[in-house]
């Protein structure tokens, strides 16, 4: 699967929520696009990520 342009092996399919948390992302401060579609926050626990997925994760830091 592809995460932010880099390839990784994903051994086990998992929910997007689990995927983010195991990689240290806080779901409250990200925007996620899976296979070209923006995923609503409410759907993170219902969306499955497998080894064919292409994901862009944008993490926001404070200030402005």
């Amino acid at each position: 699967m592809k995460l932010n342009g880099t390839y990784h092996k994903l051994d086990k399919s998992q929910t997007l929520d689990e995927f983010l948390k195991t990689r240290g992302y806080n779901p409250a401060i990200v925007a996620v696009e899976l296979n070209g579609q923006i995923i609503s926050k409410g759907e993170y626990e219902n969306t499955i990520v497998d080894d064919r997925a292409a994901i862009e994760v944008v993490r926001f830091v404070g200030g402005g």
Binding site: I29, I38, V58, F60, V61, G63, G64
Partner: protein, 267 residues
């Protein structure tokens, strides 16, 4: 030949810019041809844009806008004047973005913020002592009207939330995310991209401190999302926000908005 002189299309029989100055202006007027102030005479061509400006003289309203935009790259202003841009958050980023877009001549701006100007804003936000205590929307509108009176300004004194994003930003070409808290940034970016399929979002992440300005850049992580900042340096205790770097980031956002209004979609 036909040229545009101080905003008006005219037909004339002249070959050189200084000839036009002699006929229509005064000997010491500044001459701006196709976006550049010329010190030496230049030949003029069909459809050239000429502005002849007398310093110290207030022009009429019909000439003012053309003169204000005289140094723009030709044809940029007529394009951006069609643009409708929303600025969500009028702090360090938003207030500066709004002023830059006003200078560039964006047709319509929506300014959204629930807050008032207070002293700790002045180290980076585009407000003055005279604005302390005023709602940011009103304070910014007042300034913009004195910078470019031709911009149409809408104000909303509200806190942006998931349930009002669509209603606030519907009809706008671009929304600039200019919030402070990362959670608010995430809510706006996610909701705008999900619920407004035609809108483009220009967001910001990372502009604290005084690390190198060269770390601040614009990237395009998604088809309709642009992100400006160094993506790392968040504000926090021990890591402040100060005008130079905040305004570099605001400049990135405003330039990306300009590019989008001109049809350039790459970061």
């Amino acid at each position: 030949m036909r040229i545009t002189l101080n905003g008006r299309k005219i037909e004339l029989d002249a070959g050189w810019a200084f000839e036009v100055r002699e006929r229509y202006g005064k000997p010491n007027d500044i001459v701006i041809l196709n976006g550049f102030q010329i010190e030496e005479d230049c030949k003029i061509s069909e459809n050239d844009i000429l502005n002849i400006i007398t310093k110290g003289v207030m022009p009429g309203k019909d000439e003012l806008e053309s003169m204000m935009m005289a140094r723009h790259t030709p044809r940029v202003h007529s394009e951006v004047k069609k643009g409708k841009v929303a600025v969500a958050g009028l702090g360090g980023l938003g207030s500066n973005i709004a002023v830059m877009l006003a200078r560039v001549g964006v047709g319509q701006l929506l300014l959204v913020d629930f807050d008032v100007v207070e002293p700790s804003n002045l180290n980076r936000q585009c407000y003055s002592i005279s604005h302390l205590g005023m709602p940011k929307t009103a304070a910014l509108k007042k300034q913009i009207q004195e910078i470019n009176p031709f911009v149409k300004i809408e104000l909303r004194d509200v806190r942006v939330a998931e349930n009002n994003v669509r209603e606030l930003f519907e009809g706008y070409d671009i929304v600039c995310e200019a919030f402070d808290k990362p959670e608010a940034k995430a809510v706006l970016v996610n909701t705008a991209l999900e619920q407004l399929p035609d809108i483009k979002v220009v967001a910001a992440s990372g502009m604290a401190g005084c690390e190198s300005s060269n770390l601040i850049r614009t990237v395009k992580p998604m088809k309709r999302l642009y992100l400006c900042g160094d993506l790392e340096n968040g504000a926090g205790t021990g890591s402040g926000l100060m005008a130079p770097r905040v305004m570099v980031c605001a400049g990135h956002q405003a330039n990306m908005v300009l590019r989008l209004l001109l049809g350039m979609e790459e970061a």
